[in-house]
Amino acid sequence: MKLQPVIGLEIHVELKTKTGMFCGCSADHFGKAPNTNTCPVCLGLPGALPVPNHQAIDWAIMIGLALDCRVNLESSFDRKHYFYPDLPKGYQISQYDDPFCQAGKLSLASGKIIRINRVHLEEDTAKMQHQVIDGQKMTLVDFNRSGVPLVEIVTEPDIASGEEAKEFLKKLRDIIRSLGVSDCDMEKGSMRLEPNISWSESPEKLNNYKVEIKNLNSFRFAQQGIDFELKRQKELLDQGKTPVQETRGYNPQKRATFSQRVKETSADYRYFPDPDIPPIVLTREYVENLRTKLPQLPEALANEMVNKFHLSLSTAQLLSKDQLKLAYFNQYKNQVEPLELANLIVNKKIDLDQPPPAKAASRAVDPNIIDQVLKENADAVAKYRTGKTSVIGFLVGQVMRLTGGKVDPKQVQDKLLKALQVRNLQG
């Protein structure tokens, strides 16, 4: 029996709606003073009731549509029960039997298809902070994040390596960002990854164990963590042992995973339809209308830019997945030659809060020419150093002559002054 790496991903993405999943609190919780963004609903006070946020439902469905999913016209919210201090109601409102979207796919550059099992909507939990206060170990709970809309995307176990996982995740992030529904910022926790890893006969015939890695806060760590875990498990299997079914953390310094929690039995969440929320019934027209709101997805857009504007594929890809850069490009592509504009944005990293520099200024000054002029005019440089700063005009003129006047004299002067200062220090 030959075993192969079998990896499935669970990805959580916080939506950037104005308000919470089931209440009117701001969904923008990051960096706010603890417990300043709460209400009876997200604190789970007695008598409080959830009212679903329709913007969040629309956005979850748009993510599903972008991933080629089937949209269920009838879906419901369910209660998922477990006890944890960050879960004020004792249950999380999530989706179980009837999620909004199922059975999608996303293809990798190699042409390999990663199947999407489901895309569903739930509420985020509060945040726990472990602190020492007056010498006592304490756990504090900040409910600002409680009830923020969270989309869960679950793949089939079709991924075979850390590299594939990383490619999939990047692509997924770019798609979700292009929809404008989430920042997918791993550092701020608005995108969270949990790979499930095993060596199995096939994605259809899974082994009798699996290992989940938590707390991976970058794509690179995800790749490294998965690869480490595959190696660790392989070694055990080669010795005739079965890896323990558990949740492991990742230590980036050691580039290794470590055991966090052994799951001996699977939790019984006692799901049942939330009686506080009537089933969500959608019409075909409603879903099709959402489909028309989908922007062109990054991959298709990049290809189009290569054909239309003759951008390099890498430049087009960089532009197509960055909403700010893309908006800037679209705003000015009729005023500045698109190839040049793309180059300014991607390679020169110009300030996107300012309009593109004027046409003459848009040509960069070659640092080699600056060097050449300084070398060839050593006497002028010497005069400058003795305080005759007016010779700078002469030097600018020399550069302008060499470049055929195609550069901005102001920029040339700045560059010359900078170079002269450096030389001063060195001298």
Binding site: P40, G47, G90, V141, R270, Y271, D276, I277
Partner: protein, 463 residues
Amino acid sequence: MRLNQLTVIEARAGLKAKKFSVVELATACLVQIKAVDKKLHAFLTLNDRILDQAKKLDQSGDDGRPLWGIPFAIKDNFLTEGLRTTASAKVLDNFVPQYSATVYKKLIEAGALCLGKTNMDAWAHGSSTETSDYGSTLNPWNTKYLPGGSSGGSAAAVAADMCLFGIGSETAGSVRQPAAWCGVTGFKPTYGRVSRYGVVAMASSTDSPGPLTKTVADAALITKIIAGHDVYDATTSPRPVEINPNSLQGENLKGKIIALPKEYLIGEASGLILEAVKVFESAGAQVKPVTLMDPQFTIAVYTIIQRCEVSSNLARYDGIRFGHDRSSFSYEAKNRSLLGAFSLSTGYFDQYYKKAQQVRTMIIDEFDRLFKQFDFYLAPISPGPALPLGASKTSAMFGELQDVLVEPSSIAGLTGLSVPCGIISGLPIGLQITGAQFDEQKILQVGHWYQQQTKWHLEKPKL
């Protein structure tokens, strides 16, 4: 007649005509509470600012709001900002809410004055008020008997004229059954007609707030105020409220077709129900016996669904953010949580919860068919009058058995009234008038008509 004995409509007329002040009216209620509540134990917490609030109303003058100056009592599972709310559970012994239930807010906005919070079965788990963590309320008609429940405190407070009206909530009979046992009017609006926001949840899919009053006309007035869509409760209906308390008159029963479910005519109450039926027939209504699903089956459906929802709804009471921890839960709450958690667990969900929901759909369908042919149905609220103290302690299914005749209507989310229709051994009996969803106006008109023909609702306990 003392002021506390007035109906809401009478008191409003008196206030408008300046026959008495709000302070006088509120004082009459407080005097009565002081006189009888030591004996009855209907109130858990009193609003100690009510006289100041009354004085303020007197100073600013009658502004015509529909409940301006009317003192009421409210069940302790309705959150009242700044006023302790326990749901009769020790877990919430020290809980002072930061916000108010929509129903309470609407009443206060309509000018009403809250006298205090009334006793109930802890978490509304029961039909006796005997399972309150603060001790039972007693029946004003005979203090050796139970008031019914879970809204027993509000029912007793209305029956004993400690307030002008009371607010209760029912999951299956918790307004109508104590109304019947205490000899007052109890009204259960359609599920989703009145907001549950700010009501400590029992079984979310059937919880329905409703009024306990001295007359049907008062019940119509109160329901009109508390009903309607609430942006904070996704299960409230967006339908406009079609209750008009000013057009209850003029109902004549001629040509009405009334169902009398044979399976519901059980117990010693049925004789008085048949007497009431004669009143309807003599007015020209056709009363036809019908066969419905045996309400016994509803007990199973209701018990499973309710226990499941209870186990989930009680999960938040962990003592971390408010209240006391789980060691304060009393027997009934633990029992129901365990049963619910069991019924929802893997391997049992299909067998219990799912099957119960399927039978629930059958019950709903059966009523849909019934109301295509009939205007409403008549039945007893409870098989007999109030039971003696201690009765709930000898029967694990006490509540379900006492509420067996109203559970089908609760499971189907119907609207229904309980009106006094006679007395057996000094204890009142309630007649059930139940109609299709959102038929509130029709049921209230019929109930009002019945109270024009009979005097049972005017009978008062001797305290």
